[in-house]
C-alpha cells in the first residue's frame, strides 16, 4: 500500500522539472545565491518527519469520492484535489499548459490525487502560470493533504512563481508527474 512520502515526491519533482540540469543549475536559474545548506530548499521536509499516514486509495477524501475525469474546467476534476487559484484551462491554457503570454513556474507545490478511472494515486505538480494579472476565472481550492506554510511545497496559498520573469500570479495548472 502506497504511503505518502514527501521526500520521494520531491525527488520525482526534481527529476521531472530539473531535467538534465543539476540542482546547482536550477538554483542559478532561480537567481539565488548558493548559501550553506540546504542546497535545494524546495524540499525542507526532513526525512525525520516520521508519520506516514494512510493516504491509500482506500482512504479516499470527500474530494476523491466525488471527483470526475472528463471536464478539466471544473473544480471537481480529479487532478485538482489540492489546487488553489484560477484554472488555466479556463484562461486560454490547459490543465497542464499556460495561457498565451504566461510563464510556467519551474517549481511548484504538489498534491497526491486519486484518478477515479484506475483508482491510483498520482503525484500532481500545481505549477503556477506567471507574469500576467490574476485570471480570476474558475477559482478552485482543493485541500486534500494541503498543509501549512512551514511545509511550503504542500501549501497552496504560496505564490509559486520562482524563477519566472515576473512573479505576478495568473493561474494554476495541474501537471501529472507520475504515480504517488
Amino acid at each position: 500500500m502506497k504511503t505518502f512520502n514527501p521526500d520521494a515526491m520531491g525527488e520525482k519533482l526534481l527529476r521531472r522539472f530539473a531535467g538534465g540540469t543539476s540542482r546547482r543549475g536550477i538554483l542559478a536559474r532561480l537567481g539565488l545565491a548558493l548559501v550553506a545548506a540546504p542546497v535545494f530548499p524546495v524540499l525542507p521536509v526532513s526525512r525525520a518527519s516520521a508519520a506516514k499516514p494512510d493516504r491509500s486509495p482506500e482512504a479516499k477524501t470527500t474530494f476523491a469520492r466525488n471527483a470526475q475525469s472528463k471536464d478539466d474546467t471544473k473544480c471537481d476534476y480529479w487532478r485538482y484535489c489540492a489546487i488553489d487559484g484560477s484554472l488555466c484551462s479556463c484562461c486560454g491554457g490547459a490543465v497542464n499548459r499556460c495561457p498565451p503570454g504566461a510563464e510556467h513556474s519551474p517549481v511548484s507545490w504538489v498534491g497526491t490525487c486519486i484518478n477515479p478511472d484506475d483508482g491510483r494515486a498520482y503525484l500532481i505538480a500545481y505549477r503556477d502560470c506567471c507574469g500576467k494579472a490574476y485570471c480570476a476565472k474558475c477559482n478552485c481550492d482543493g485541500t486534500d493533504r494541503e498543509t501549512q506554510l512551514y511545509v511550503p511545497q504542500l501549501n497552496n496559498d504560496v505564490i509559486w512563481c520562482f524563477g519566472t520573469t515576473s512573479m505576478e500570479y495568473h493561474c494554476s495548472t495541474a501537471v501529472l508527474v507520475g504515480t504517488a
Binding site: G92, N96, N115
Partner: protein
Amino acid sequence: MMKVQRKSSLSARARHSAAAVCALALLGSANIARASDPLPSDPELEAVTLSAPKPSWVFVERGFVVPGNAIYDTDTGKMLGMVEASTLSDLSIDPAGKAYYVSESIWTKGWRGTRQDMITVYDSATLKLKNEIAIPGRILIGGRKFNFVLADEGKTAYVYNLDPASSVNVVDLVKGKFVKKIELAGCASLMPVTGVGFSALCSDGSLATVKVAAAKPEITRSAPFFSATNDPIFDNFGYDGAKQQAVFLTYTGQVFTAKLGATPTISEPFSIQAAAGVSPADTKPLDVHWYPGARQGLAYHLGTGHAYVLMHTGEYWTHKEPGTEIWDLDVAAKKVVRRIPLEHPASAIAITQEANPKLVLSTERGEDGPSALLILDAKTGEQKFMLENSGGGVMRTLEP
C-alpha cells in the same frame, strides 16, 4: 511576419485539441499494451500561442479592479487568453494582426512613485511584451473606445490626453516613437480621417477636424449641430474607418451620420424612437420614453450599416442605465427592423464584424454573479453562449 503567420495558422484551440487527441492516443495505446498501466506523465508544454486576431474574437476590458483584456472566441464561447493591461488603459488591435497595443499609465510604486505613460506593444501570437513606447501623458478614464485610435493602416496612433488641458499625442508605431502633441481645446473622442488626421466631438456642438501633417496643426470646426450639455452625443459612437463615416447617437435618441474628411458633412438627425414607430423622446425629466443608454450602448456593423442600440424605459438623464432591449437600426433606411428583449439588462454591447455577426453583451447579472457575457446571433437574437463571471467594461472586435 511570416513566422507569426505560420504560428498563427494553428490556432490555440486547434493546438489544444491536437494535444488532447495526442494524449488520448498515448493513453489508448497504453491501455492496449497493459490495462493496468498507470497514466503517463504529462509532457513539458510551452504556453499556448494564438493565431492572428479573428473577426469572431471579442476583447473584453475586465474592469477597474481586475484589469486586462480577456479574449473570447464567439464561435466557441471559450476564453483564449488575455492582453495584459493596467487599470484605466485602452487597447487597440494592429490591423495587420501582428500586435496588440495598450495605452497605459503605470506608477513605479503601485499607487505612488513616478508616473510612466506608454504604449505597450504585445506580440499577437505569444502575447509577450515586445516594446514600450513612452508618451508624455494620457487621460485616465477607461471605458472609452476613442481615446486611443490607430490611423494610416496601423502606422500611427492618436492618444487623447487630459491633464486637465486637452490634447492629442501623435505616435509613430513603425518607429516606436512619440512624434508630437497637438492641443485640442474643448474636444474629445478621436476619429481617424484618412489623409487628413482626425476629427473629434466638441463641447460647442461642433465636429473638429485636425490636419495632423501641417507644421502647425490646423484645426477647423463644423457648424454646431448638437448640444453638448442638453442632448449630448454618446462618446462611444459608431465609426467606419473604411467608409470614413460615423454614426452619432444622442441621449434623446437622435441619430446623425457624418461623412468624415477635410470638410466633413453631417446629416440631418432622425429619431430612433420614430424609426421604431414609437413616440420620440425629449429632455423633459418628467416624461417617460424609451431612451438609449448604458456605458457602451451602440454597436455598429460595418458590412450592413446596422446599429444595435441598448434601450431602456425611463426619464431623461438616465443615460447610463443598462439596456433592457436591443434595437436593430438600419441607419440608411432610418428603420428599426427588430427589437430584441433581454432577460438581464446589459451595460455594454459589441458586434463581431463577420458576415453573420454576433452580438456580445455585458449583462448585469448572470446566474453566478454580477457580470456575465452573453453572445447572441445578431440576425435572429438567438442566445449562443452565456459566460458567467466574464463581463466587464468596453468590448472591442476586429474591424476589416
